[in-house]
């Protein structure tokens, strides 16, 4: 869980998000459909850090994911 600043503050991203056309897309899984019940936030951060990547998610926990749907841009 991330922390919250004081209410009604406005924050801006402190880094630019890389343009997605430079990114490789990764599907959520072949022949896998269903609701994204759990997302391992810490695991993703670890993978991104170890491989020196920025990972953009295209879904939220709770979203229905269709088979072969793009879930990540790397």
């Amino acid at each position: 869980m991330i922390g919250y600043a004081s209410p009604d503050d406005v924050t801006q991203p402190s880094r630019h998000v890389p343009a997605t056309d430079q990114a490789a897309n990764v599907i959520v899984g072949e022949n896998r459909d269903g609701y994204a019940q759990t997302l391992d936030d810490g695991g993703l951060l670890e993978i991104a850090t170890e491989n020196d990547l920025v990972i953009q998610l295209h879904f939220r926990p709770g979203d229905f994911i269709h088979r072969d749907q793009v879930g990540f841009s790397v």
Partner: protein, 185 residues
């Protein structure tokens, strides 16, 4: 993109056949929204159940006014951007409640007035101008959609009074002063 990395990413998600409340605020919101929508359907016609749902949903929105929207950006320990997540914002939750239920409360006098009161109460609890503007938009949409049902002049006045932006004494919305009315449910 190597297969091992793809597999590692895929392993970060658990997929299942059912929605769960875990990491998923909108699931809980949707459960109350579904109850309200069913209660307001002509076959059931139970506006008081819907009104109770709206009060609790409003209570949830008030809790959200105490918090800033979650940051989508996650950084590593060296402050490098690593993950851009999709987060659930105040706007998303307002839409899940007020937009999703509009076809139902806009056809029922009592439910429409309750939703207007809920919008006004939530608005009175935040000083964030973007959020107040958003709630004003929702109040305008409610007034517009309620014009499509036959309401007496008295009921329309009642609905406008519930809006509180221009109250009968001309004082307008009293920021942060109004307490929610918990009468039942």
């Amino acid at each position: 993109m190597d297969d091992e990395l793809s597999q590692q990413l895929q392993d970060c998600i658990a997929l299942g056949v059912a929605r769960t409340p875990h990491q998923n605020l909108l699931f809980i919101v949707d459960q109350l929204v579904e109850s309200a929508a069913r209660a307001l359907s002509p076959g059931v016609n139970d506006p008081y159940t819907a009104i109770i749902c709206m009060r609790w949903l409003g209570s949830g929105l008030i809790v959200m006014t105490h918090r800033q929207d979650p940051e989508p950006y996650r950084y590593d320990s060296d402050e490098n951007l690593r993950v851009v997540a999709k987060s659930v914002t105040f706007r998303d939750v307002c839409s899940a409640i007020i937009d999703q239920l509009r076809p139902y409360y806009a056809t029922d006098r009592n439910a429409a007035i309750q939703m207007m009161q809920t919008i006004a109460t939530v608005r009175s609890c935040t000083r964030n101008e973007d959020r107040r503007a958003l709630l004003n938009e929702h109040a305008d949409k409610l007034l517009t959609s309620a014009q499509m049902i036959p309401l007496s002049e008295y009921d329309i006045t009642h609905l406008r009074d519930a809006d509180q932006r221009v109250s009968s004494d001309g004082s307008g919305d009293d920021q942060g002063q109004r307490e929610p009315e918990w009468t039942n449910g």
